[in-house]
């Protein structure tokens, strides 16, 4: 699994209420949710995000509510991967379960600036920041989680 895109950067404790405010949770249509993604933290996000872009977030990314609508909105907006210093645990599960790639890499987030071009090779656990000419090694997922990802999400895994 390889991804390439430009960085959209946020700080620590990006919560699920700002990723997708509850006033839009009277629907679970992913296109509708994507229209309001990040609205309460960054009104410009939906207009500037391009397919393949990568969110770089700080510590505790996705904290707060268990709404799966948060990773769904991020994925449907075209984001290919979220790199953060750490993830809140429910967001972490939800992202894996719906097939939104996520990576913990504090060093990469510290170095990355808005707009930097980043390449990710998830199979080999490597991130490259082309602007900074730097590469990072990331911890592979535990085997069990890799199986879920390979199956294409939790429901497919369960069916198998």
């Amino acid at each position: 699994m390889k991804y390439e895109g430009n960085v959209i950067k946020y700080g620590d404790n990006v919560d699920t209420d700002v990723i997708i405010p509850a006033r839009y949770l009277n629907t679970f249509d992913e296109k509708e949710l994507a229209k309001h993604c990040m609205e309460d933290i960054d009104k410009t996000f939906v207009n500037r995000v391009k397919p393949g872009d990568i969110i770089a977030g700080g510590f505790n990314f996705g904290c707060g509510s268990s709404r799966e609508h948060a990773p769904i909105a991020i994925k449907a907006s075209g984001i290919s991967c979220v790199i953060a210093k750490s993830f809140a645990r429910i967001f972490y599960r939800n992202a894996i379960n719906i097939g939104l790639p996520i990576i913990e890499c504090p060093e990469c987030v510290d170095d990355a600036e808005e707009g930097d071009k980043i390449g990710i090779d998830l199979d080999n656990g490597v991130i490259i920041n082309y602007n900074k000419r730097k590469s990072y090694t990331v911890q592979p997922f535990p085997e069990f989680i890799q199986e879920i990802i390979k199956a294409g999400g939790l429901m497919n895994y369960i069916r198998q």
Binding site: E68, I72, R89, M155
Partner: protein, 421 residues
């Protein structure tokens, strides 16, 4: 190997003699929960996968509490999906308006969770049931769908942080103040992926309602779960509410904790969390002059009977400040009726409060009390993130029921001592 309370429950649920922190396990669940925001997504995933049967129709609870009574057509459609699914699958614990309450107040009250249970819920505050000595944790909709089908969930066995509670809290200080104090101390990711285990001689001074409020907000410290040692108070509550079999798990004396804190409850003051993170805590004496527009007393954190009684004690014979709307939301129908029988509604209405039917409503900016630009609320709810209760430039100050009720009277964040002379 020595184990914590959480580790012992997870070992039982996965059929293993022992488990270790970091180990991935599959555990059988005793209850699976979803609400009107999360369950429709779970039902879509369930049906998309071609599944036709739930694992146990008596171990699933569907609770439409967030946008109910339905605030608009779209939310009515979401509840319709739940209702029809519940009928089709024969799910026993679907709660219709008129019987429904806020999920994390409702399930314990209905006796659906007891000590030793493993509960997952597609709602982050599912961790509330740790007050009963159960392992309970929030998950997403896909996890809920998978658990409805298979009756199990994959979990990573968490490390633990121990909170040894000592001393007796002073007047007006409730479980809410204690947990806000702890979150202020360790931060919103201070317990990330870990279990928060509460024990110690101070437990005897904490009611079940105090403990529910504390376990409820474990997620606000990033925790996987919060759990209380079972004592006579817990067993009394279970006996009064449930006929289910329960099992008490006690931590081994040499269980390992990544950190241990001793919390002297007698030293904890009334505490307020400032916008926009629950960790931004100040004691009431540090607050300063903060005028407010709204007070909300309710939610899965503080919509229980003791919260109502505390609010009434402070509001009795007083008037809500002319600049303030005070919204009171008893969390369940049973609590609502009890408030009525004890004469609390008379107090609330005479003082100028409005009383709502049970709903999560304003806590998440859903309905029944949304804030306009620049408005401030003191709220007994659990989150004060940007835009949580309404406009992106509104503010939520989290507090317990005593501070909330006192603030309603004075029109600024206040201690009950400012109101009751």
């Amino acid at each position: 190997m020595a184990m914590t309370m959480t580790q012992k429950i997870l070992a039982k649920g996965s059929g293993l003699k022992e488990v270790k922190p970091g180990q991935l396990i599959k555990a059988k669940v005793d209850m699976v929960l979803g609400n009107d925001i999360t369950a429709p997504v779970a039902i879509r995933e369930f049906e998309k996968a071609g599944l036709i049967k739930v694992f146990d129709r008596r171990k699933i609870a569907l609770v439409p509490d967030h946008f109910t009574p339905n605030k608009d057509i779209k939310s009515a459609e979401q509840v319709k999906i739940m209702r029809e699914f519940a009928r089709k699958m024969g799910i026993e614990y679907y709660f219709e308006v008129g019987r429904v309450g806020i999920e994390h107040a409702l399930l314990p009250e209905q006796g659906l969770v007891v000590a030793g249970d493993i509960v997952i819920g597609a709602d982050s505050h599912t961790c509330t049931y740790g007050a009963l000595g159960a392992f309970s944790t929030g998950v997403g909709s896909t996890d809920m769908a998978a658990a409805m089908a298979a009756g199990e969930v994959w979990l990573k066995v968490p490390e633990a942080i121990k909170f040894n509670l000592i001393g007796k809290p002073s007047e007006w200080v409730s479980g809410k103040d204690i947990i806000l104090h702890i979150i202020g101390m360790i931060g919103v990711d201070g317990a990330l992926y870990k279990s928060m285990e509460f024990s110690g001689e101070g437990l005897e001074f904490l009611s079940m309602d105090d403990r529910f409020a504390m376990a409820n907000m474990a997620i606000e410290a990033g925790a996987k779960n919060g759990i209380f040692e079972v004592d006579s108070e817990t067993l009394k509550y279970i006996a009064e509410h449930s006929e289910k079999d329960y099992e008490v798990f006690t931590a081994d004396s040499d269980a390992e904790y990544v950190k241990e804190y001793t919390i002297d409850l007698s030293k904890i003051q009334l505490t307020v969390s400032f916008p926009h993170l629950p960790e931004n805590t100040k004691t009431i004496s540090e607050v300063g002059n903060i005028p407010i527009d709204q007070v909300v007393i309710g939610s899965c954190t503080n919509g229980r009977m003791e919260d109502m009684r505390t609010a009434a004690k402070i509001l009795a014979g007083k008037k809500v400040h002319p600049n303030v709307r005070c919204i009171i939301i008893p969390a369940t129908q049973k609590i609502w009726k009890q408030c009525m029988n004890e004469g609390l509604f008379e107090v609330f209405i005479d003082s100028g409060c409005v009383v709502s039917t049970p709903t999560c409503g304003p806590c998440l900016g859903g309905h029944m009390g949304i804030l306009a630009e620049g408005e401030r609320a003191v709220s007994t709810t659990n989150r004060n993130f940007v835009g949580r209760m309404g406009h992106v430039r509104s503010e939520v100050y989290l507090a317990g029921p005593a501070v909330a009720a006192a603030s309603a009277v004075t029109g600024k964040i206040s201690s009950p001592d400012d109101v009751i002379g």
